[in-house]
Symmetry: D3
Subunit: 242 residues, 6 copies
């Protein structure tokens, strides 16, 4: 039994509220336990320079933590500079979204998904990916309704979860406290069809075996099935496909 009463492979209570920001083409407020992330998708007719001559769109993400989302106040990055951690995370979110989208179908539109952490308790980057997918799907639905995109370009749902080895046990969906005591930290990004979009696992202290890696993947995969279901419910009645 874990500190908050969960079993080893049980994920925290999760809710996703879609359409919460009035000005935006897509938005989702995701709560995974005490981790709360606001994901907002903005459609723009400007693609990055290096894509200018190609015939495809682009999806990118930005990630930020409000100063007091953490137990101690963290200085703003507008003052302190954008950290390596932030850049690593926003690149990861962007890759995950692009992996399930046919960018040629976006024409020359680009979408930015802003993921702002309102409150943090471990797993902010995975919650951001799971919420960002919902905001993205709403934005694309908006584009179809406004005839900016003709065909539904998303090939699958994408979501992410963490898992870790704590004293030899595989725990799924780590809180901040569990994450700190884990000897291995896995972040797994899957499609709802069970395909891998991205995997990152690093030893915090002692290296680990390939067999342990596969057990972590197994546990995380189970948790993700629940998240895909919650995504579907959040989008019900909102998404209009082509």
């Amino acid at each position: 039994m874990r500190k908050d009463g969960r079993t080893e492979e049980e994920i925290r209570p999760c809710t996703i509220e879609c359409g919460c920001i009035r000005h935006a083409e897509g938005s989702a407020f995701i709560r995974v336990g005490d981790t709360h992330v606001l994901c907002v998708a903005s459609v723009s007719d400007r693609v990055p320079k290096w894509l200018a001559r190609s015939e495809q769109g682009w999806i990118t993400a930005e990630y930020s933590m409000l100063p007091r989302s953490t137990a101690e106040r963290t200085p703003r990055e507008s003052t302190a500079g954008v950290s390596g951690r932030t850049q690593e995370i926003q690149r990861m979110i962007g890759r995950a979204l692009r992996a399930v989208c046919d960018l040629h179908m976006l024409g020359t539109w680009s979408i930015v998904v802003d993921c702002d952490v309102i409150q943090a308790d471990g797993g902010t980057r995975t919650a951001a990916i799971t919420g960002a997918y919902v905001a993205l799907a709403q934005a694309i639905s908006w584009m179809i309704q406004h005839n900016l995109v003709r065909t539904w370009p998303l090939s699958a749902q994408v979501a992410a979860i963490s898992a870790g080895l704590v004293q030899g046990d595989v725990l799924v969906d780590l809180t901040y406290e569990e994450d700190r005591s884990a000897s291995v930290d896995l972040n797994l990004v899957l499609t709802h069809k069970g395909q891998v979009v991205e995997i990152q696992a690093a030893a915090e202290g002692n290296p680990f075996s390939v067999e342990q890696l596969n057990r972590l993947i197994g546990g995380a995969s189970k948790g993700l099935k629940i998240l895909f279901e919650i995504q579907r419910k959040a989008l019900e009645g909102i998404v209009v496909r082509s």
Copy 2:
């Protein structure tokens, strides 16, 4: 009658939810119509360098808009640099809070109040001041409960509201659209006793008379009475005075 059905001196529906951020010593989520600002107070044992040798505490504020709080997405200041507008606003919030607090009673503690605009529809700086007061009062209550402060240091409530001249009429609590068509823009910061903490009024286009200025002050003052009442309710059952 105004576009949203209000009379000239009527303010928008306003709610303040106190204590919404789990990690923070004080927090308030204020909604004034479609303007939503999260105000979070953090207590710290570090005062600015230039105060190091004095025997007083300090209160400061930071202000930021989430990228898609606005109708068009605004680039993050971590990327674009902190704008003059942002700095002007956070200095104004800080001054307002310090004007009602006896900083010597704070000992050598300092408090930062982060005001993050989640959604914007005019009047974000005045909503931030009104919400920041509530977050500050909760944080000071927490300090008293934890024996960091002995005597209640706040001498009055402080809140702020906008008013403007639109085609010769005094309108109170402007939406973004009303603000754009106003020929004069007033921001008024008062204590609940009716004393002025700060006044800023600038002509957008044609200069105005001192008589018009006094009519604007009058209208704004009435609106503020309602905000002081809402602040009191939000703090009910939360604030513990010394």
Copy 3:
């Protein structure tokens, strides 16, 4: 009687020397007591991007203090970063100048007025506005002589002055020392017709009443009448109207 022998509403000796910088289209060196500001207007055929498609010109201001204009040397902003105070002031100067100019008459020209404080003794932002008007008027006269502008676009003179409450008394045109001991600090920007362009007043310590605000405005208005006269003399023989 004040420390320097002035009565409560008396302003410091003021001189404005117009045309002091050889390369510039407009320039004015203003001395208000020991506060000396060099104001230089540059005409340019580039307007800000966001105005590119409109049919109007633009006026902007930059403000800076030489490192040793102050009693203690202040680090340069090229090293330390442009402070919030600087940005607040240069936005204020720009607003004041634009409020008396019909920007459509400027065609697609823009004017930058650089206000560099050579020596500071309180009231640098108000002296900058008063001097900047003179530099601007000379630059516009130059534009008319060179057929860049057809009709005189300035609707009024603009000038500014400070006032404050010191131990309950209204003092006009504060020195640095008086400013530090004032409990309220007013900056008032008027046209020579007595209309308000901008008003800023903030409590340093104790909040103040609306009645006190109106007494401050009254005192400052009297001082401004003298400054308008000095502006007119500085421009005599220099300005050529259309």
Copy 4:
């Protein structure tokens, strides 16, 4: 057969020259095909602030590419800002080195390993890790000879290699051209005992299966065995253990 004549699981010719920089405590120039990286370890008596009170040392890495290491010249990061990619890579190198070092045995010393890419043809981050281990081992040997460290703190060799799926085939140690056409890109960091230190795999385009992931791991592991052998030879006669 691959373009350069290698079989699918064959790595490029690799050499490591240890001790090539005269001033440094440890250095290694690694060449993996046309990818050339200079790795230089510097010992310092300053640990990061947040470690100041602990009783342990620290190892960190910096990564940079010379402007013309690439086919097209890349602007320097001193001009363009440190990119997210650079920060991601240098964090990864640092983690890999720390995972095989008992930081408590370093006392309060810290080591920075600078990895500068002289010429790039794919796999610069993995070559940097493989070379950095050699520079680190030489630096630690130097510390032991100078009595700064008593016990050999490295628990294993660490090295890294890339692998990818190209048209369904597992290729090991990708060139830049192969990397661009791969649909999955794996970076694997192992100890010479076969334990995982870090694994990163991301879909470039189509998601992949867990089975494919395991085939990539298998291929990469074989290539790493050769690199561990080359590391050992490079350090022969140089490393003095406690």
Copy 5:
């Protein structure tokens, strides 16, 4: 005959006004033709970190041009970043001043000399050096009067001038226009005893001979004699030696 009526080796009219800034320990306003530079010396009890343990003081210089000192307005370096040219010049001024001062006699005091160009017409760096010496001498005199320094630490006067080859002729003290058409540009820093402190000469276009270099040095040396005389007059009645 030159455009402004000067002979080849004749310098422009030069005046130096000492003590023009009220707050500063030393100040000099130097005018060389239409080149006007304000030089202000500030005494501080902080030396740079790397000197902290030594028993000597330090002298440094900062150089800046007001935006409209030039024919076209130049953006401020607080906005555009400090240019290489600015840094090169301020390092040169600092070296020149330190070369004639026994830094050990300064105790642990440091002096910053700010050189701000009010109006530019060629030779701003050399005028800055000539004026900075006067400001420095006044500041040191102030230090002696206030018992911060015991013995006069300056071993000689230092001044600088430019010279150039224009169509084969040696011209001394170049205006901006002459400088642009010169094929060689020399900046010479001498002491009043005729010793060289620094020499910089570079070909703009065609390389030049050592013989030509010596002719340039000869012409510049004559011009400097007049500047040393003007420095002495500016300091008359102001400098108090130990």
Copy 6:
């Protein structure tokens, strides 16, 4: 006799390896004693903005030191900011190269020469100039072979060397240690025809006489003759003239 056995006017062993970087149009690795600099020339079809309308090309240089090229590790400029020293050096290298090139013959092409110091022992800026010429000549040869340039645009070889006064003696090609004890430091840039491209000499401590300056120039000129010979050998069989 000097510490490393050289006579006063003897330069250190010098080698230049041309064509060492595979991707680049020109490259040279120069070793002058323990000072090792990698010089790489990149051809680009973009000229600086201010040249856009002219009919000429441009040559520029960038200079950087690897962090551990020095005895103590120096922080990267991507972190610490580009120093004044770096900017001064890269401007000097650029001027030297442009002085021997007819920029109109380059058409609208520009060339950047990156000079990265791998190991430093005094004289890095002069070694950079000497090596940069070789990289530039190879790049221009490549341009001629690819028909980007028709006529050989270089009018002469250019190289540089240092010299200094150490206890009254003229020493040529100073090591870092010699440089620190020199009372005068000369950097001399000549063409192989003996013409001066640039000369910089500054007193470190005591000013010096014109006669001493001429002795330094004489010694340095002799050393440069050997460097011009080494440049020619490095380019043998590589340069193809038009």
